[in-house]
């Protein structure tokens, strides 16, 4: 049981915590939506039951090897993303495997699962899958712009791509968070996050009323269980990433929960209040104001913060 | 006015002014096409609202009604045309209005009227899972018998004649013969 073994165990713990947390967040999101609509909403354990049920389905079909591997890619992508992010600042073991690469690795590893899932869903042969994926990709390359601008602003500000160092630079009081030092970049990134989380008004990928339900139309049973697990872990990973980059990271789990919950509420509340965009509208949206804000953030970092 | 004019050329019978803006009349089958063309092209009845067919089994005919509408005067003509029930055939007018094809398909499907040359005539609209009985809207088609033979009836169903049932429920003491008399006579003056 060397340090590597210990690290693996801690990573597993992180995974479990983040998975559970992510599922709870999902339930919380649904509950909030329900309350906005005047309903009681699902019980908080509902996502857990759903996952168990999906894993417990008796039959499944497969359209081919890529279809079979699609959810595997997806979940690998989700877990990998989390594994490459240091979750708790200052903790050797909860920094997971962030030694393997910096922020750029995380940003590109996000695509790993999406790409694999896209290919798998495509092999399903259902026409809605490619339509949904095409929408998703289009939206992705649009929201990547403000997000990339924000990331670059951070890289300028802290002169590093290492997430640990970025968090370290934000220590020492609430005012040293990026949120306060470069609010433009953070706003751009949060707007991008709305697209990333795919809640309304950016839910054009799943869009149950238009292309029920997009890419995962053919996925079911344990495949669906994996996609749901990934959704939880991946959401947690993204939130932790945002927290690390913009909100000073966390030195322990309660702080982590508090901060990520707050970040999550942004997209939940926006999602509860807006109807859905059309695909071309979301592209235009992200390339308009969020991009402008992002550029302002970048220039602010470049000419004011340095 | 216009009707007078039409009467000079066509055998227009059974004229009935239903409402201010709706007039029915009957023309023979062979004059139908000219009638429609004349109304459409010379009298501005550009819109064919619908075609309906009625199985007049007592008279041995199918009564087809072509409803034409004039946008300018807000007036409709319902043109009846009786065709022989035994030899149920009618000219197709899809060349006058393209949408007529659909009505004709429906009439073929439900009443078994043949419209020679109408597009996609043999394709069923609502019976497209296959149908081997007689046209279901003909009045000599017994749907109950068909249903009994085709679908699984659940045992134990009891059927009532609604009129008898209501009478027994509401007026159990009233003599049956009297009530029949009243009810049957009630409709006539």
């Amino acid at each position: 049981m060397g340090p590597l073994g210990l690290k693996i165990i801690y990573t597993l713990i992180t995974l479990v915590i983040c998975g559970v947390y992510g599922l709870l967040l999902g339930a919380f999101m649904a509950k909030t939506m329900a309350r906005v609509q005047g309903r009681i909403g699902i019980p908080l354990h509902q996502p857990f039951v759903d996952i168990i049920k999906n894993y417990g389905k008796r039959t499944a079909i497969s359209h081919g090897i890529m279809f079979y591997l699609g959810p595997v890619f997806r979940l690998t992508g989700g877990i990998g993303t989390l594994v490459f992010i240091p979750v708790i600042f200052g903790s050797e073991y909860f920094s997971n495997f962030s030694v393997a690469g910096d922020l750029l690795l995380v940003m590109y590893f996000i695509f790993f699962g999406q790409l694999g899932m896209a290919l798998g869903a495509s092999e399903g042969g259902h026409p809605y899958s490619p339509i949904g994926i095409a929408r998703g990709l289009a939206q992705m390359c649009a929201f990547e712009v403000p997000f990339a601008l924000a990331i670059i602003a951070i890289a300028i500000q802290y002169n590093t791509f290492s997430i640990t160092e970025i968090v370290a630079a934000q220590q020492g009081g609430i005012l040293s968070w990026t949120f306060f030092t470069n609010p433009f970049a953070v706003v751009a990134a949060l707007l991008a996050m709305l697209g990333m989380n795919m809640y309304p008004p950016f839910s054009i990928v799943l869009a149950p009323q238009e292309i029920p339900i997009g890419p995962p139309t053919e996925y079911h049973s344990a495949y669906l269980g994996m996609l749901q697990s990934n959704r939880a872990i991946f959401a947690a990973a993204k939130l932790v990433l945002f927290m690390n980059l913009f909100f000073g990271g966390a030195t322990n789990f309660p702080v982590l929960v508090l901060k990520t919950w707050a970040i999550y509420m942004c997209s939940v509340l926006v999602g509860a209040a807006f109807p859905r965009f059309r695909p071309e509208e979301t592209i235009r949206f992200f390339l308009r104001w969020p991009t402008v804000i992002g550029i302002v953030g970048l220039l602010f970092a470049k000419y004011y913060l340095i | 006015m216009m009707l007078e004019k039409l009467k000079q050329t066509f055998t227009v019978t059974e004229v009935k002014e239903q409402k201010k803006n709706l007039t029915f009349f009957t023309v023979p089958k062979e004059q139908m096409e000219m009638m429609l063309i004349t109304l459409r092209d010379h009298h501005d009845y550009k819109h064919l609202s619908f075609i309906v067919g009625i199985d007049m089994i007592e008279d041995g005919v199918f009564k087809l009604t072509y409803m034409l509408y004039n946008y300018e005067t807000n007036h409709s003509f319902g043109i009846h045309c009786n065709i022989d029930r035994e030899k149920a055939e009618m000219d197709s007018f899809h060349h006058l209005w393209e949408q007529v094809g659909t009505y004709q398909r429906e009439l073929r499907e439900m009443l078994g009227i043949n419209f020679e040359g109408s597009p996609r005539l043999e394709e069923n609209l609502s019976l497209d899972e296959g149908w081997d009985g007689p046209p279901p809207m003909r009045r000599d088609f017994d749907t109950k018998e068909y249903s009994n033979n085709t679908y699984f009836q659940r045992e134990g169903r009891v059927n009532y004649d609604p009129r008898e049932y209501m009478r027994e429920q509401l007026y159990p003491t009233f003599p049956k013969t009297e009530s029949d008399k009243l009810l049957n006579g009630g409709g006539k003056k």
Binding site: I61, I79, V99, A100, L104, E123, E280 | -
Partner: protein, 1036 residues
Amino acid sequence: MVAYFQNPLNIYITAMAAAFLLGLVHKLGKMASLTLFYGALTMMAAVTLGSALSLSQPLIIQTAGFIAPLSINLQFGYYEAFFTICVNIAALLGGLYLYDYLKDSVLARALFLMLVVGINGMIMTRDLFNLFIFIEITSIATYGLIGLDRNIKALSAGFKYILAGGMISAFFLLGTALTYYKTGTLNIDQIIAMKDVLQDPIGLTAITLLLTALLIELKPFPANGWGLDVYQGSNAGIAAMISVGVSTGALFALYKLLPLFPAQHMGIISGIGLATFFFSNLMGLKQTDAKRMLGYSSIGQMGLVLLALSFFHTAPLTMFLGIVGGLFLNHFLAKAALFWIAGIVKKDHIKEWGILSQSKMLTVVFIIAVFALIGLPPFPGFWAKWQFIMVLGSGNHTFIIAAILIGSLFEAVYLLRWFNYVLAGSEEKLACEKSKRVPVLIFGLITAFISALLIKSSLGPQSSIYFFPIAFAVILMFVGNFIPTKLRALFAISGISYLSYYVQMNVSGLNLIFAQMFLWGGMILSIATFYKTKAKPATYGLLFLMLASLGGLVLSRTTLEFFFCWEIMTLASYLLVISGKNAKKAALTYITFSLGSAAFLMAGFALSNSLTLMGLAALPSSQATIVFTLLALGFLIKMGAFGVHIWVPGAYAEAEDDISAFIAAILSKAGVFGLFVIAIYMQSTISNSTLAYSLGWLGILTATFGALMAAFQEDIKKLLAYSSMGQMGYVIAAVALMSHLGWVTALYLSINHILYKSLLFLSVAGVIYRVNTREMYKMGGLIKKMPISFISAMMAIIAMSGVPPLTGFGGKWLMYTALIEKGWHLQAALAFFASGIAFLYMYRLVHSIFLGQAKPEHKDVKEAPLWLIIPQVIFMGLMMVGSTLPRLWVEKLSVAVGEFMPSTLTWSGQTATTSLGYWNGFMVMNIVGVIFVIVLIFLLLTFQKVQKVKQFNIVFAGERPFTPETTHVAYNMYAPVQKALGGWVKPRATAFWDGVTEWSHTLSHMFAGIYTGNGQTYLFFILLFFLMLNFLIGAN
């Protein structure tokens, strides 16, 4: 007897005697007469050669014991020898060619002999009046020959020639008279010696008159309408004699009289030559009549020779022969061959020239002639033009350089368009007599021989490196018909492997890396070419030639070597592209842009004034900026940068499928190499300059728009073409960074691009081979039939998109780090956008081809041929190694770049660290692998039963799908993106270049409108030309 052959006078005696005897011998019989005629021509050629070989010093001959002008006064020096050899050989072969024409008419034979005598005389005589006589003899013989053709066109042409000839004679006689009046002598040498006497108005008028006469004989713009009609209307054999014979005489006569011309006015001659060259070629653009087009080309080429003459008439012999002689020889050989071929084809409209392709040999000569005229290596024109432009560059004649290069481009366009029609083929049978074919072939062989000599002599001691590959390629091309395809491929591959061994022995550092990219990549890709059961005979020769020229590029030290290899590469790749099925139009665009690129390079090298690449480093900064801009433009065109990318889709898409892989993976790196070369040598000037900054933006824009356009393609190869353009954009930006990390990025991206573009193109080649379409929406569901091709395509897109753990991420990581390190932040953001867009087309590619619904017509499709799979497996293996152990090669790149600037990339274990971040590819690969396996095992354990289903077993709203075509979402897949961003990719660049084409053709038509076909107009122009010349000389 030997003495007979050593006296040039015998040319005249033989000709005269033969002409005289012809009438008598004719009575003896036709055979005897013909024997005499051809005997005489042979003797004349032999005498010329003999005299030239025995020449030790210029020979002055006075005949008949009288002094000139009563006798004939001749001079036979080196210059005369060169031109008379040309003329007399052309005369012999031309006579042979005209056998049909001459055999029935003794008069024609006599006239032909007169013509030859006249031209010889024009070259050799040193007496002004003699010259007049010879001009007259030539003219009369020419009218006679043209007029013997009894058709209206020829007669009218002959009449126009008489009109012009009359004017020429009149001018010349007047000039002679005035000169004699001023100087009292008719001997040219004496007149030259007394040229100060001629500096008064009368003298100047005399000179102007003489020059006008000779210039008009050379058909200068605009007084050349009659010449065009003559070229068009007369028999091809005679037109050839006019084009190469009469023009030679006039040219040399002019050369003799040039010293008379006031040196300060030499610019006028240059101007006339340049205008003639430029405008004839411009007007040639719109021509559709083959002989008239050749006429434009002839006139243009003579204009160029005239321009060269005005610069070098006093130059030493080697330079004179190198430039003026080279240009002349080029024109001479090519034009004679082309006119003769025109006579064989007997088709006026170039559209009907497909018939030529039935004779392989003639087509080859045609190609040689056309390429020679365009000035491609290794033909004589290339070397002459290079030297000429270099001299012009050192004199800073920017305007002339530009005009020459643009004019050449026009010429290339119309000649190659013609070439396209030839390649189109035809059903009609080509009738060709031996007597006509032999001269053409001999000229072809002479051209090839001279070209070979020129390679050896022009490239100096290193020439064998360049000579042998070309010879090998040529042999491979010509034996192509006789040995089986596979054997040819083997030869080519072994040739490349030897070459790669040789090149690697001789280069190091960055050049070594590029050599490996070019040659190793080429070698692996060559395996794929085996998949075709029948390749075109020349394919392997050209393929070898292309790779060899890339190898040569890496080896080259001097600018000439570099440019030579560059042009050979262009030539080979053009011929490879054009061998595709519908590639003609695309190939024309490709070669036009490539020649444009070459023109920029030539201009850049010329203005740099440096003979070696190393010399580029020593330029002062203002000059360096211009040189860098020009050279960079040249390379950027070749890389398909934004704005000049419009050749990219056509060339990539229409080339044969395996060739496309070469073009995309290997050839596009030539531009990268070029960019690196100039960036390295001009590092001090360029780094941190606006130029580099703009170049960076250009690169990023190229990446963005390449990706966007790729996303909207239906044609799979066009998609890949635009994708290549986009990827090259990143490389351009990375080179422009001028930092250590930037250059490492550029190299990394280039190598990576070879890996994944090869994979994609080969995979796609297999798919196209099996399904016979390039439209993606017509495919689908091929994963089950072609699993290996799918895996290869999938790995390629994962790598290209930059998703870890494959190699692509390294490229992205390096690129963003480099961009941000340099402070190019907005560029980095745009690059993010571009790489996001790249996902669109990559997904589309894999989905539309391999996933989704399979079509019933592809039911029996099999996996791609083994020969396509093998290189893919090799590349996949390389990619996996490269992904797992990035240090293995990134460190090498880093060291190679480290020669030029300090390294900023440090390593500890497998972790690469920069000033901004860190990356451990080995660890990433392992973590991802472990997680993937665990998740997969978990999934396998969870299922109780999995039923494998087929493609229509999908949820379809309770219905069943009826046709795969309507169920497969592939056509216009990104409609929403098109709606949102479609406005960005309206084909503006295409519209711009279409506009350029449109305008140049309109101009061409407009200018050509001055030639009304009316003799009076032509006379008016001649008069106008004289007045203009007179005014110009007088005005100064």
